[in-house]
Subunit: 329 residues, 2 copies
């Protein structure tokens, strides 16, 4: 059935370059496939499209469930479209790994945005490991760029490890928080706040402004306690209310001033080059690990070695060397 | 010359188990050696000593230059010895990688402690990569444990990447800071504060107490803003003055209560098992990477591929796949 659905390389390429959303979707499905021949075709496709990629602003958005991510993205996305932009939203939802279906990808989310011809929304439906998600999301992002989307938003749920991967593929990383510093931080995984280029406090609807302003001050103080970023940027805090239509303009301005500054100080290109190099090496490392752990003799022996090391019966390095010896044999 | 200096496996083993400091030092030199035959011998040695390891409390201590690490460790170490403990201090100083000699290892540091028969101080002299340092420090730590040291302190300078490695080999991670939150954080690498189980404010000498108490409050607030640790521990802040002889008792109590809590909730053993398993896998991964990057065809081709990926001429995944193809051939 997959074979039947597969297009030719030229069909994918032309379709994407002409902005055909259906072909874009089919190409992302190809990227997400576990079939060897699909992988080969998608690598070839991205290779051919590569000169047409890289022209978007890549934004990572995260926040715990309940913070209003899809509401914010719908509001912010519609604002960007009203300013003449084409935007793509890719969502990474680790919960879909367990259920086999994507919770975030529920069709009722971002209802208006998903019907706009200048927006493309795609959940990462995947049953694969986290490394795989990151890999696929990166390639899907490139496909969206080739299809002409100028702003790519990558959304994660803020409770998994996917945020570090996403930080490694975006230009700007945005953390959504609720008013009332402290409690809601409980749900955010360690290290995520440090990765943020900005925090946007959501649901600052009328009547809630005082608490929000207090929270803004608290977050600013907290961010001030972090060491400065390598890129010389001091993270900012903004307020937003999707209900009252407040904040989108400020967030856009903030992102633009970030991008401007990064382009001026050379960090924009430096960061993208570094991300690409890291991606190359990470792909190599993933291959090496996969190759090792999928070798029958390793598969067979690993559980016992892990048990011995875990229980303290065996020195970790000795165990590793023995596994390597078996692998080489 | 090295050959002449090498002892037999039995000599190393007996010497270490009987607490012979000179043989311990020679065994650590063996662990630090780059020679293949030394590595084989040291792996064998650690394998034989392994049942005698693991009985210490492993403490990581970090802080920027000028915070008074050696002064604190000397003061704290002498206090622990006065309570009947045997302590070992292993220092990791990335600066020694450049100079070829260890700056931290300067003999004038921890003068009194280094002359105490219940203390063993050893700088990591190494010209090797960071992964190597961590690997060697871990093995040196095991040797110290087998030699009967009950508290192992691993000191790092707080500005490199070695802290993450150290966090992965200790039970308790202590960050030293100066009074006056904010400015001195500038020197601390991102993420280190989040790893701390406790912060000790150093140099709280007479006349300085008010600033220190204010700083304590500020750090407590900052730590409160971090998400809680997996182990259920809320990081604490203590004050210390080596000059006035204040704080050692409180820090010891704090560490003891941490260890007690971790042993009760099972995290102590869980953490150690996890560290050992990670060490095994990390050793495998290091081997795989080394093997790959040392292959002549990769060495020869990598710079061009990196250049192409960096400049955007080549898709990272395509480049990785081509490198892998060359490697397999």
């Amino acid at each position: 059935m997959r074979k039947k659905n597969r297009l030719s390389l030229a069909q994918y390429k032309e379709g994407i370059l002409s902005g055909d959303r259906i072909i874009l979707s089919r190409a992302i499905t190809l990227v997400e496939s576990n079939l060897q021949e699909d992988n080969e075709l998608s690598t070839q496709l991205i290779d051919e499209l590569y000169p047409s990629t890289g022209n978007s602003i890549r934004i990572g958005i995260t926040g715990v469930p309940g913070v209003g991510k899809s509401t914010f993205i719908e509001y912010f996305g519609k604002y960007l479209i009203s300013k003449g932009k084409k935007i793509a939203v890719l969502t990474i939802d680790p919960s879909s790994q367990k259920s086999g279906g994507s919770i975030l990808g529920d069709k009722t989310r971002m209802n208006e945005l998903s019907q706009d011809k200048n927006a493309y929304i795609r959940p990462s439906a995947t049953g694969d490991a986290l490394g795989g998600i990151a890999h696929r999301t990166r390639e899907s992002m490139l496909l969206c760029e080739a299809a002409g989307y100028e702003i790519i938003i990558i959304e994660t749920v803020g409770v998994g490890q996917s945020e570090t991967s996403v930080k490694g593929m975006v230009d700007f990383f945005l953390l959504l928080m609720l008013a009332g510093a402290g409690d809601e931080l409980q749900g955010i995984k360690k290290g995520i706040m440090e990765m943020a280029d900005a925090i946007v406090i959501t649901k600052v609807d009328s009547g809630n402004e005082n608490a929000a302003r207090k929270a803004k001050k608290e977050y600013e103080n907290a961010l001030h306690l972090f060491p400065p970023n390598e890129n010389g940027w001091l993270p900012k805090v903004e307020l937003s209310s999707a209900v009252d239509g407040e904040g989108a303009q400020e967030v856009e301005k903030l992102i633009n001033s970030f991008i401007k500054k990064m382009k001026e100080n050379g960090f924009f290109d430096h960061n993208r080059s570094q991300q690409a190099i890291n991606w190359m090496h990470e792909t190599v490392h993933q291959y090496l690990r996969k190759n090792f752990y999928n070798t029958p003799v390793i598969k067979e022996n690993l559980p016992k070695f892990e048990e011995d090391v875990k229980s303290g019966n065996q020195h970790a390095v000795k165990a590793a060397l023995e596994l390597i010896k078996k692998y080489k044999a």
